[in-house]
């Protein structure tokens, strides 16, 4: 028995799952103090199902809390930034292109020191340990406790980041340290930005994780809890405290994974229609397609792996505006105020939900409140809603072949017509809590990442050894050994090192053993 929770900007959803079976699901408004909303939702699913809290084996939480906090610049701490790359890369200092409002929060405590490697693993310069120590002393004097460390080509060779982290840890009192190679790929500025973002959330992540923990304990749930990350796998509470940015786009990932689970489809388009936006993504073998582009989050360029999602300004709360003969829908929305401001709920604002009710294909709220709307207006607005979705679908498709479309989210009631290029529209049961279900089925991953030489070990042997290590790590993190699949094998040739050297990374994932069979 397990609980899946999705804490979104508008709603907090919870589901109670027993193996493959959904026992109860519910939706509550997200509260400023996140744990109140969680408590309300979890108590509701336990109440409806009559299940005793002591029978819960684990809890999985998906949250956009950290993303929102960063974008809004709330609850961020000052960050000490160390870049290990001199004499290279000094033409663009750290934080150079960050928005002013974020710099006002995190400060501009930056140091560039000698060190780093070249693209092929050759030395750029030996690590200047004294300069790292000087920076740490300076940070200590300024009362800074969160530090981001980035060294040149650390995705190829990361030992200088580790060594610098040890030095800083020896000088600062209980610091929170982020090293860039755990977050990003080649692209110094973007990887450094990801590390700084992560470091800026150090205090919030500790606070949020402990409020999750106490909310669960208050309800007598003593089971371990996990938080879902961008790639649809789970992190332990301790891992989230270290790497909150890895949750940044877990929202769309969870809804897509939930859609795959609910519909039984592994290759399909998914549209998650919420109150304000529609997120469209593509499922390939049950996982979201990844984006290869640099992502801009709150005005900061980064390059960590994110699902490829197209966000459209259309949702159940989208404003419907008429100007002469043309009717437009969105992108402005009443958002979480839908149940106060929409006509069908007694408000004064014409929304997309009102249109779906007036057109007769959605059934909620007070129908008589929209009976005065003209047929022409309703038809044009329904046309426009379908146009916007059809256009988004067409952008995300990779070929002209018709593909099934799974609709999830509370706003899925907006769609009732066939969409060009879509073979069938599937609205699975419980589509409104797909996010929470996606969190509840998330897997546990394990990784192996080493530079190996194919001259001394054959390629097959090296890959097998790496797989074994990754599987062992996944099992240690809580995965059921029998359910583990290899997700990716990445080989990066490292020229100029002794013959046949490659950086070999293997990532595996399996279901959480504590969750029981899924």
């Amino acid at each position: 028995m397990r609980i899946g929770i999705d804490v979104g900007g508008t709603n907090t959803d919870a589901v109670l799952m027993d193996g493959n079976e959904l026992l109860a699901g519910c939706k509550f408004p997200t509260t400023p103090n996140v744990s109140d909303g969680i408590r309300a939702a979890v108590e509701a699913v336990l109440g409806t199902s009559g299940i005793d809290a002591a029978r819960i084996r684990c809890v999985m939480i998906g949250t956009t809390h950290f993303t929102n906090a960063f974008v809004e610049g709330k609850h961020l701490v000052d960050v000490g930034v160390i870049r290990i790359a001199l004499p290279a890369a000094r033409g663009i200092p750290p934080l150079m292109d960050w928005p002013e409002h974020l710099l006002a929060r995190i400060g501009t405590h930056t140091r560039m020191v000698r060190g780093g490697y070249q693209f092929d693993g050759r030395l750029n310069a030996p690590l200047d340990e004294q300069a790292v120590a000087d920076a740490a002393h300076d940070f200590r004097n300024k009362g800074i406790r969160s530090v981001a460390i980035t060294s040149l080509f650390s995705p190829v060779k990361s030992d200088m980041e580790q060594r610098a982290a040890e030095i800083v840890a020896g000088i600062l009192d209980g610091p929170s340290i982020t090293v860039s190679n755990t977050l990003g790929r080649v692209g110094l500025l973007e990887r450094e930005n990801a590390a700084v973002m992560n470091a800026s959330l150090a205090e919030l992540s500790t606070r949020v994780v402990s409020s999750f923990r106490s909310a669960l304990l208050d309800m007598n749930i003593h089971a371990p809890f996990y938080i879902s990350q961008n790639d649809g796998t789970l992190m332990s509470a301790a891992a989230v405290e270290k790497h909150p940015v890895l949750t940044f786009s877990s929202g769309p990932t969870n809804s897509m994974r939930g859609a795959a689970y609910l519909s039984g489809l592994k290759n399909a388009l998914v549209a998650d229609i919420g109150g304000t936006t529609t997120d469209i993504g593509m499922l390939t073998n049950g996982f979201p397609r990844e984006s290869s582009l640099t992502a801009n989050i709150g005005g900061v360029r980064t390059n960590f792996r994110m699902p490829d999602v197209l966000a459209l300004g259309l949702g159940g709360g989208s404003l419907v505006k008429c100007a002469g003969d043309t009717v437009d829908v969105g992108p402005t929305s009443v958002g979480y105020q839908l149940t106060q401001r929409a006509l069908i709920f007694g408000g004064e604002t014409l929304t997309a939900s009102d249109i779906a009710v007036a057109a007769g294909y959605a059934h909620f709220g007070a129908t008589d409140r929209v009976s005065h709307l003209s047929r022409a207006l309703i038809n044009s607005a329904v046309d426009r809603i379908h146009e916007i979705i059809a256009d988004g679908i067409d952008r995300m498709k990779v070929s002209a072949d018709a593909v099934p479309l799974v609709l999830v989210g509370g706003g899925s009631v907006l769609v009732n017509r066939p969409i060009p290029g879509v073979s069938e529209i599937v609205i699975p049961k419980n589509a409104d809590v797909a996010n929470a279900i996606g969190a509840s089925i998330a897997h546990v991953s394990g990784e192996s990442d080493h530079i190996v030489s194919y001259d001394t070990t054959s390629r097959n042997e090296a890959i097998e050894a790496a797989k074994r290590e990754a599987i062992l790590n996944a099992v240690r993190a809580g995965a059921d050994a029998g359910s583990i699949d290899v997700l990716e094998i990445e080989e990066l040739p490292v020229a100029y090192l002794r013959g046949g050297s490659v950086r070999l990374r293997v990532k595996v994932a399996g279901s959480l053993a504590a969750a029981g069979p899924a």
């Binding site: 033409g91 663009i92 582009l293 002209a400």
Partner: protein, 359 residues
């Protein structure tokens, strides 16, 4: 003509447009230039004709692999040093810096160098776009020697190449750059004011700036592509411009060989007419064929832009389903002479079709 810090974003966008899919990410260049300008002030932008015939100019650029440039760009002092080495070699002062390549990242490096050294930057370049190799430059076509090629890494180690042909200089520089960390600052094509007047592709820095501005302004109109095409057709520096296709990416294949990415991108029309366009690219777009027939071919420019934002779409960010408008832009006349085509026309890239001007 005076440049302002706020112009760099438009300049970068225009430079990416003229990069025809390649040329490296102008973002990094813009950051380098901005940092230098904040410290040293904006360099003066001058016209080719304002130079004395016996003035002495050279180019400054970055050379290397785009993925490495993303990790390790120029430092600043390397620009100072590369120019002082050039001056020491010739035993005379450099009077102005001219971009060798307006497309992409290298539109910004001369501005960084000009700012640091207090030298004017000439509103011209040697390509009018982006090309992958050192010999594919109008200066070379007009007999200006590309040597000495002065290369500098971030440790300020230098390599000076002297050889007979630009093609051989390209081969040697490529090997040296790998040993130097695959991202180096380079100065080459040092020449007199008179030589520059005879061989430059003119007005290209201001063209890039105006293209970037036109894209930004066009977004506020009902017909952004139309306004960009009209603007380019009125440009005195480029020839005819036309939108040759609108569609979405339905196939993308690429491979990296000898340091150059080779790829094929297939677009299908959105109007269900089954029309399709295949664009072949090396580092830059080389030829655009509609249903097998050549519509635009190098050195004419094939510029892909996002169908809504009109933001230029570099080849490394192309992806399935992306909606693009494809614009053809006739290259400046100086790149379309028989002598120029021999160096940078279709056959220089192994294509079998002859050059045909965009019509």
């Amino acid at each position: 003509m005076k440049l302002h810090l706020e112009d760099l974003e438009d300049l970068g966008r225009g430079a990416a447009f003229l990069g025809t899919g390649g040329g490296g990410d102008p973002y990094i260049g813009r950051m380098l230039a901005t940092h230098a300008i904040r410290e040293f002030g904006m360099p003066e932008l001058i016209d080719v004709d304002s130079l004395d015939d016996d003035a002495f100019v050279c180019t400054v650029a970055m050379l290397g692999a785009p993925t490495v440039l993303a990790e390790k760009a120029a430092c600043g002092e390397d620009a100072d040093r590369v120019i002082s080495l050039m001056e020491r070699y010739h035993r005379r002062k450099i009077d102005a810096i001219v971009p060798v390549e307006i497309g992409g990242l290298n539109s910004m490096i001369p501005i960084m160098a000009g700012a640091r050294l207090g030298l004017p930057v000439v509103d011209a370049d040697g390509m009018g776009r982006a090309f992958p190799e050192i010999q594919m430059v109008s200066f070379n076509i007009h007999g200006v020697s590309c040597t000495p090629v002065v290369m500098l890494d971030e440790h300020l180690n230098s390599v000076v190449i002297e050889t007979g042909t630009a093609k051989r200089a390209e081969e040697l520089a490529r090997v040296a750059s790998i040993e130097m960390g695959c991202s180096v600052l380079v100065s080459l094509y040092s020449m007199s004011g008179l030589q520059l007047k005879q061989s430059a592709v003119r007005g290209t820095l201001t063209s890039a700036l105006e293209i970037g501005r036109s894209i930004a302004a066009g977004r506020r109109t009902s017909d952004p592509v139309g306004s960009l095409v009209r603007f380019l057709n009125s440009s005195p520096h480029y020839g005819k411009c036309a939108e040759v296709f609108a569609g979405k990416v339905v196939d993308l294949r690429r491979e990296t060989t000898k340091g150059f990415s080779m790829g094929h991108c297939t677009l299908e029309a959105l109007d269900r007419s089954r029309r399709s366009m295949e664009v072949l690219f090396q580092n830059e777009h080389l030829v655009a064929r509609e249903n097998g027939r050549v519509k635009v071919i190098v050195p004419d420019l094939i510029c892909m832009v996002d169908s809504e934002s009109l933001e230029p779409a570099p080849v490394e960010t192309l992806k399935y389903g992306q909606r693009l408008r494809v614009l053809g832009l006739r290259a400046p006349d100086i790149l379309r002479t028989p002598a120029a085509l021999a160096v940078l026309g279709p056959q220089a890239f192994g294509l079998s079709e002859p050059y045909q001007a965009l019509s």
